[in-house]
Symmetry: C2
């Protein structure tokens, strides 16, 4: 196996993914040429098409990564044994923090999903639905227990909350007055306050 790492230590496929993520977020999927990606990664097209089937595949990988990460974290928070308000609050805040930590992925997510091929799009949607469903179950649990208001259907609450989060990349300013954690707490607060009976 000849050098897979070239100059720096990271293997080529990861370098390509990182470059693609940054560029997709910066200029959008269609405005980013394959040529630019391989240059940013310090390789050539041969390398890219050796590891990935198409430009589309690259985009799909970005999604797969972020979905996997978020699902894992949500499961961890939701599955605890603290009271349901606490679990929901922590899960809601955590997704804000991790979204800010990966703002590039977030902005790609909400701007470029429709660029995926139909099948891949379907697959991503299915995984996302699973994620939302887990979140919704948490809210319904609280509603059944009587600690959350039942005035609004749980799935609406979920869509409301995640709408804002997916838009974080539009309005979040790293140089703003709040740290990511503070912002996350504020948003979780808003959600919990909206759910008070």
């Amino acid at each position: 196996m000849p050098r897979t790492t070239d100059g720096d230590g990271t293997p080529v496929p990861q370098r390509l993914l990182a470059a693609a993520t940054r560029l997709f977020a910066e200029r959008g999927y269609d405005r980013t040429s394959v040529q630019e990606i391989v240059e940013a990664a310090g390789v050539t097209k041969g390398a890219l098409y050796h590891y990935f089937g198409s430009k589309d595949d690259l985009l799909h990988e970005v999604y797969a990564r972020v979905l996997r990460l978020q699902q894992e974290r949500l499961d961890a928070f939701a599955g605890g044994d603290a009271p349901v308000e606490r679990r929901l609050r922590e899960a809601a805040a955590d997704v804000v923090v991790t979204t800010i930590d990966n703002l590039d992925d977030a902005s790609i997510f909400f701007r470029s999903m429709h660029h995926l091929s139909p099948e891949k799009n379907k697959q991503v949607r299915a995984e996302r639905r699973r994620y939302h469903e887990r979140f919704r179950a948490l809210i319904e649990e609280g509603q059944k227990a009587g600690v959350f208001s039942t005035d609004t259907p749980a799935d609406l609450v979920v869509d409301y909350h995640f709408g804002s989060i997916h838009h974080l990349s539009t309005w979040y300013r790293p140089d703003g007055p709040l740290t990511p954690q503070q912002l996350a707490d504020q948003l979780a607060d808003l959600l919990l306050r909206a759910l008070r009976p």
Copy 2:
């Protein structure tokens, strides 16, 4: 002046805008060729470049139209003399209904803004800021009057609410169980409940 309406009754520039709006929302700005737009509008490139300076101009027009509409409506609601909770609730619900009425515009808005030329982008952002500012002022008015909680900064509340609204085009289903007005009322309720002291 030769026939400006051709077969149907609408003038060519409006036909072009309508076709562009639909196609941009459907496949995205970059995936829509000028050729497709003119074909959908039943004219040719000559006509398009007669009325618009560039493809970019077309996109900008879409934004200008929706911004104008929303600003007008917000001003009307916010400027009334009902109590502030009532004005905020109605404004918050109205923007949901008009967004649903123009879902194409909404999805273009949140996916394609970065395709605008830098100056036009700046212009659109400035107008949008004005809009948000007006909305924020309404919330601050209520906070000063003591009817809204001051736990969350008003601008955060605005971003939270509009994040969801800009995402409506992603999760709203016309065949869902709620009418647009019902959905709007629910979301306005969520906002108002989150603002309870």
